[in-house]
Symmetry: D2
Subunit: 389 residues, 4 copies
């Protein structure tokens, strides 16, 4: 049977409790970036707002934001973004008595993962599900797979290759990360090292500790990553691949940054806004080996989206890290909804994805490999038919 | 015997190899923020530069910077800060052949900690040393103790008290951190919760998840932390104590931030510059429970300082975290020089410091506690003698 | 107000559901060490068994055992211990329909700790509670505090001292552990090293790697730890202190053991039986820095005890380890009942206990230290008044 | 080029320092299980002993043992095993002055892994090397691959399959572990659960917590794992596969064990002896997800072996665990010689091995998958030839 996303069952708004509920109350913003007293604080959860007797449903939701009524629609905004005069939903309790319905039961309860499940658990089904989900989102006309990568992901030879193939096969629609991730990836493509170590052999190359800063200096000289790649300086790597495929990446700055690269957004407000724009499109989010950027994504991203066909679908977040604590924190921020924790080495994770998510032609061959070996060898031996193979 | 900082032995510049070494070579910056080819990349290590036959020694050093000759002195600058026309030291090998001497042997070899030492090790001596060092730096006229704190430090009742007492007793000269740390601390002083949990009992208070954002909203309404405190809103907490004692704190923004608080520096370049200014004064740095800010400090801070009395002293960095991986990364960034890793719960660490670093009057009493109990009780009972105590 | 243990409220056996419940069904053991079909599997939870219309309550319970009716009482036995002819309670569902009542609500719900609570949490109240609990159990005439120690606990100078003082002050009634813990402790007392490192300075002593095996060889020559200590070979350490105070310790063997020491129990069946005998007396269990022995204790120990005064009290288990995963596993085995996780460095934990659990005379002085300092100094100076102190 | 094991270069015994070295000194054991004073303590390292002017070389070495001269050969024995009258090599310094040569330089220095290398590192080359090594050892006539498995390895559906295929393809020659690992594996084959959770879906099955003990009870009733399998009770699993292929497994008991299974060795002395017998044959050791058994193996196993062809080859140990601390401890015990740390989820590791270590026929097909896709598709399109494929 074909893979299907979990279905969302709308509340039965004919029920008396919904009918009886009043409209939302609104308060006016008096000062830019400051919410009115008793503002209602949003979460990622699917939430309905009653206005003029109708239940409004915003296209996506976000943690610790406010709900603004704008042209008869609910928009979810960061407090820092609201402007004087805007109308903000009020309520402390966030319940039907104030015209608000946080609807946790729209999806089947299996949408919630088990607390504490992460280390020494069975991952077979989680992988299986992820692979189907990735195929589904790649093939959907509004599927949008966002990868959030920490610097250690781009260090490894196999992982670099795997990320490239995943991008080429259509499984990456946007990349979020920081200066270090991008710098290491470009250093790999420019000088075949990461922080001065040969990417494949891990041997330190002579004067290799310069490579990192030399790369930064070169890109800063040319003025942009784009022009640096265009000048033929970069042999391979995920940034080069994304650039050549016109797939966007958002690089947010932090005080740890060397350089930084010209495209890195140093103003955290702007970085947050750009990151959120990307996450608002997401239908699947894969966070790997970064606490900072994973938690940022976990805080900002909606747990659902209204798809082009009008259906409400969950936005799954996979959190992949070798440190259990990181994964647990991300899960807590998502309230475990549409959340899958995977405590593993990130290289293994990325390479597993690549191996599983092959093209249809590759897949046909791979299926033969799964045949019982006797049969498989027999087929192989019908030499007359097969000649060249 | 009184506590003494490790002494730095200068190289014997009379030796032939130093005499024979040429002057440094310089290159001119042609474009702001871009280093000339073959620039020399600095580390935290004590480093001498030969110029006009003299060995220059900058007041502090920093990782991944360039050395600029300015008015016959060497200044260490971030590449992003250098300006067109400045003269930058050139060399790839960074050795005597280019007039550069990275001098790792100025301090005794015990200044280097053992690789891999962190978990399940003996800490008694490390604590003992830290306490003496803190007393020494508090009492030095140019001692400057910088604390780098993650948000989890201010969650706990005992730890809040301990930090306060440490500040009051003179053991905190500057605080570095982010928006979350400061927000949690102020929430504790404003509403007696941290992220909505009662700080002492850890019980969730009703609607407590609003407290965090309410605090942010209130401070943003008033316009500054300073005015918010002045208005009497904050009962206690380290930020209040530091404010009342005019001890500086630098808050660097990141894309994870709610709010943020008005004093948080959202531009990462500015945040880096302000952080570095603070670190340049440091004679001791204590990093607790934050990977982002600890690594940032580890990257920027010098491993030594030239003190007022002309002596060169090490700038110790203590890295305290319950996650071994964080501590190991910080240690690697410091090349294990003047570095002490402590893998422990941060509350235990801070409370330990507070208990050990008491005032002289408190100490006198505490010493009695250390007496063998029989003697101790006997003394206590001989009331006539009590005068002397 | 004086500290009180949580009270246990008995079920109201007058209620119809209890009255209507049938007696338990029994099956006969046909073969030593093998349970009859449909045997009922026990947990640590308080459990009542109806027999002849009466509700029997065993003195303690244990995970994965069977309930045996013996002389009109319920005894909880390991399956390996049951003998042909014994009568074992049958039931798969373990409910009233089979005369069994697993009573999770006897204690207030605060007896259960929050899942996932361990890292970066507030510990002030947990410590406070532990210290009161330890004092209470020390002063109870049937209090019995069992410490379960891993080898890393005895490595550190301060921790060795702290353990000694805790034992001398009456806070240790029994010690459980393995060969390595005991060997390291004795090596410390014999040669002032642990695995060849000086306990205080952590410096490797010359030929120090022999110390460990030399100690083992010496004790094996003499034939017992007891005689080895009696011969004056051991200067200090917890094993010496326990021996001199006639406090029992049980050392269970494992395949990792060097030596082993003569008192180490190499037969795992015997070791399990001896460990369980100790745990059956426990009113408080503190597990530190050992996964093997902590999980073993978590599996075997009851979560409650019937005290001398007839009251049912919880048997708290504290699990202390710097690795979150260890603590979480122990908590899972206890179903989070009467369980407190503490993720911290074990040295800090032990030293904290020692500092807090001082004698009454020490405490009187310590209280003065807690006074506001002005007052404190004033009191100190009014010599005439000192008599009262 | 064909894979080759690192070569061992013998010392040049013609050199004067070797010629001048005296014969070893021997001491006589006076009491069973107790070494004579000044006994020489062994390590895993290749070590030569001069006797009657000849340099003797034992077939394998082991940590913390003694060297016994027996019929003009050196045998390495645990102290507990030595008997009255045996002749033990004496020396504290273990150097040429006592006729002993610990030869760390026989292999190229690349045999030592880098300290601290484990987390966030590049694994591509390590995997590549492991796969070649496994193939080499499988195909050598004295290759012997020992797997040391913790219980979490057998929980997962994919991992169970992967282990089976690895065994069937000849990559497992011996399995070491404990009672839990074996019990979980058999529970999976008997009831399709592990600790009551469905192995694939991870859902708890009704009354599933009985499955674990029911399995133990059933096997104990029948009397042996072997007979339990023979009776057709076990559908699949690694233990069944090994049994059917007559591949040995050694199960060592511990005080954590439920049951235990009849084949579990409860006497730790016997368990150690049996484990060591297996390890003495090993040419490659893969330790996964168990601290107890990994450290036990790390302590006992030689770091080299004398192969049938007379060559000395390293015995590589791979330590695979999601907890860095475990891997670091194992590495320390091996002195990082012929040691590869891999911090990852154990399922990913095992499945990676299985996917890489396919049969020659499978491999031929797999190689096509590696072709550039255009070419690959072209081949596939020659439909006339291929028909059925």
């Amino acid at each position: 049977m074909a893979f299907q996303l979990p279905e969302f069952t709308l509340p039965n708004f004919e029920e008396e409790k919904y009918q009886k509920a009043p409209d939302i109350t609104l308060g006016t913003v008096e000062r830019d970036g400051v919410a009115p007293d008793d503002f209602y604080l949003t979460s990622h959860m699917p939430t309905f707002y009653k206005h003029n007797g109708e239940w409004l449903f915003p296209e996506h939701n976000s943690l610790n934001c406010v709900a603004v009524l704008e042209e008869e629609e609910i928009k979810i905004k960061e407090i820092r973004e609201i402007k004087r005069g805007e109308e903000v939903v009020l309520s402390r309790t966030g319940d039907l008595e104030h015209g608000i319905l946080v609807y946790r039961d729209g999806f089947d309860e299996s949408i919630y993962s088990t607390p504490g499940k992460a280390v020494e658990t069975s991952f077979s089904e989680d992988y299986e599900y992820l692979f189907k989900l990735m195929e589904h989102e790649r093939d959907s006309d509004d599927g949008y797979i966002v990868w959030v990568l920490g610097p250690s992901v781009v260090f490894d030879y196999d992982t670099r290759n795997a990320l490239n193939q995943l991008a080429e096969n259509g499984y990456i629609d946007c990349l979020l990360g920081g200066n270090a991730m991008c710098t290491h990836d470009l250093e790999g493509g420019f000088l075949q090292t990461a922080l001065g170590q040969n990417i494949y052999t891990q041997e330190n190359v002579p004067m290799g500790h310069y490579n990192h800063l030399d790369l930064l200096n070169e890109v800063r000289t040319i003025g942009s990553i784009k022009d640096f790649i265009a000048a033929g300086n970069v042999k391979d790597g995920i940034i080069k691949t994304l650039s050549s495929m016109d797939i966007p990446f958002v690089l947010s700055g932090s005080i740890r940054d060397d350089g930084p690269l010209p495209e890195v957004i140093g103003d955290t407000d702007v970085a947050l806004t750009e990151t959120k724009k990307a996450l608002d499109k997401a239908t699947l989010i894969i966070c790997i080996a970064t606490m900072l950027h994973s938690l940022s994504a976990a805080r900002m991203a909606s747990s659902y989206r209204v798809r082009k066909d009008g259906k409400i679908s969950p936005v799954y977040m996979y959190s992949v890290d070798v440190t259990e604590n990181v994964v647990n924190k991300v899960g807590a921020a998502r309230e475990l909804m549409a959340f899958v924790p995977m405590v593993t080495n990130v290289q293994d994770f990325v390479v597993n994805c690549q191996k599983a998510l092959i093209t249809p032609a590759q897949k046909e061959f791979a299926e033969e490999l799964a045949m019982p070996e006797e049969e498989f060898i027999k087929v192989e031996n019908i030499d007359e038919l097969e000649g060249e193979i």
